[in-house]
Symmetry: none
Subunit: 201 residues, 4 copies
DNA sequence: TATGAATGAGTTTTCATTCAT
DNA sequence: CATGAATGAAAACTCATTCAT
């Protein structure tokens, strides 16, 4: 099995378990059981539990970025561009809810718990990744403020708050068996529209 | 010492510890040490660690409600009323940051981990309290939608999202020693203004 | 409330709790709750939990002795006397099952756990009481061996074994709501008859 | 090390400790220390302390059964067969006294304390094993009642009482350093003889 | 006499991590 | 690469006991 696959399988299993019971109530044994392997396999690919959590976080950022970056690179007008980016973000959240829930619930423990040299290096990398993701929004908002589409205000506060707002469904969305696709579409549209309103003049 | 005092002292110590290291990384021993008492005292007043967390959550809701309710009861126009409520909420969050951080980071564990009969009863009570707090916002938003101040959209999604947005500083605000008061004022104003924009026409 | 009553009430509550969940799984709090009092009351009358267990044991011996001694003092022929004593013993066991169960299940812990000076003194007293009870059977068996009614064999082994046999219902008798009186009568008769057979020629 | 060995080693160490101080006064740490291993090892093989106790009980039944079953399968006349079975049972008890003491002292706690799903399943298995052992005596006693060797009486009461009687040495036999073998022989003979008398015409 | 708050030692259990195979 | 036995450091929780009221 190539390196990538093994690591991704484990990361996915970890995300599922972490989302189900919380990081601290999930044992490595449980993660292994989730993917039908033994504890040893997990430790073969990840040195510590913290590294596993960081891996989940990395995946979470990458998966949303994959959707948002292409739109950010578009030359569309700021308002339209922002709206599309926001909607793509919410869609990404809704499509992979457990993954993102884990991350949001463990932002701080990620910062505090990185004890190993290895972990710290990994964390630095992820923080940079997160920053580069936030920059996508920083840029479009900044541009909108310059061209008069968006209100003049602290860009930092705006960017941070907007991202929290776009993550909001994490806290209250309960996937239902029926008509999920349309529902998600509606939620994504509404939340993105609210985000636009939050920064518009 | 009357019942209230002991329980409140313990709850406060717990909030401090939970905020510092996270709930799972905090031992009951540490909570006891924080208030210069013995582990036994904590267990005399709270049967489980989960009950202690619920107590923190209860205080958190009550303290914000105390600030917001009087404004909600005001006959001011919806837009103005909403803006003031929102600002009061953010202010409450910023003034007691650690307390509220604990709660937001552990919303789901509160739901999943309530194993004891006692805990479940307590949780039900708190869920009702939280619902009654959210109703303050539900009502003003609903009123604004009727009188044409606010956009027509799902009220549930709007209320839930707005509350997450007002909680946003939890995720990024770092209190600094200097000029905190003005800073907070500015942040509260800006976030409240963004919230208003998020629902306005 | 006179001394006797308080101590007896507590002893009875303790016996009930001990029989229900075992001595070690019963807290003093539970004993207090059983009689609608507070932990402090128990500790006012008994210095340690071990003393409480000894008190249960004392009551157990006294209550059976009360039934058996009058018969032992009778001048009836050995065979008849033994049979009546045995039957009275079994009856006593069945009438106060929980009490006696506790004692039998904790014979050794009574010996090992007596740590306090006070407890040791109490234990000595109870061991003497138990010995004097066993003597009732020792005497009748001994007499029967001399007059040719009972088999010649080690009297110690005989006495010890007979008493265990007479206690046997402790291990398997389950009181049922219906027709208990006749049932008990039958069991007492049969077990007593078996005991007689065990020592007869 | 094969599975069997580890589990058996732990069970044996547990039996020794339980017999020495009682189940409740024995910590898992002590069991581990007894066999020069770590607490973790015990928990690797047994999920709970209760399961460990059940394992001791299982061994206890199996070891006596091993001695008695071959005799029960013999075509000897009922009286002789019963006497030999009884003697074998007492011998088994005396040879492994601590083991059997543990079991008898904790018969009920085994029933009440089985909380885990796993434990309940194990308990069911053991109850069946115990029943099959008792059946050996039920059958010979029943046969003796039919062929006129034994008194007509409730077979259940007889079987239960006889087994308690055969276990009696548990309560009073103190192994001494000198001349143990002959002593045991005598005790086994006498107790078996008493048991026979208890059911004979 | 009785109460119940407080203590702190002790117990079971869990789990990340290591390592021989 | 993968397994799973073994370790040992926590951590939650219990409870006998004390003591001020």
């Amino acid at each position: 099995m190539p390196k990538r696959d093994a690591k991704q399988d484990i990361t996915k299993a970890a995300a599922i378990c972490f989302a189900r019971n919380g990081v601290d109530k999930t044992s490595i044994d449980e993660v292994a059981r989730e993917m039908g392997a033994s504890k040893g396999k997990v430790y073969h690919w990840f040195r510590t539990k913290g590294e596993l959590l960081l891996s989940v976080r990395q995946q979470s950022i990458l998966s949303v970025m994959e959707r948002v970056k292409p739109i950010a690179d578009t030359p569309a007008p700021t308002t339209e561009r922002f709206l599309d980016m926001a909607q793509a973000h919410v869609h990404g959240i809704l499509d992979d809810l457990p993954f993102h829930r884990v991350v949001v619930e463990n932002l701080r423990s990620g910062l505090a718990g990185a004890t190993t040299e290895h972990e710290r290096a990994f964390l630095t990398e992820i923080v940079a990744l997160q920053a580069s993701y936030e920059d996508l929004f920083r840029e479009v908002i900044s541009a909108g403020q310059k061209d008069g589409s968006f209100r003049q205000q602290s860009t930092s506060v705006a960017v941070n708050s907007i991202i929290v707002l776009l993550n909001a469904p994490i806290f209250w969305y309960q996937p239902r068996p029926e008509e999920t696709e349309t529902q998600r579409e509606d939620i994504a549209k509404q939340v993105a529209r609210m985000a636009l309103g939050a920064i518009s003049i």
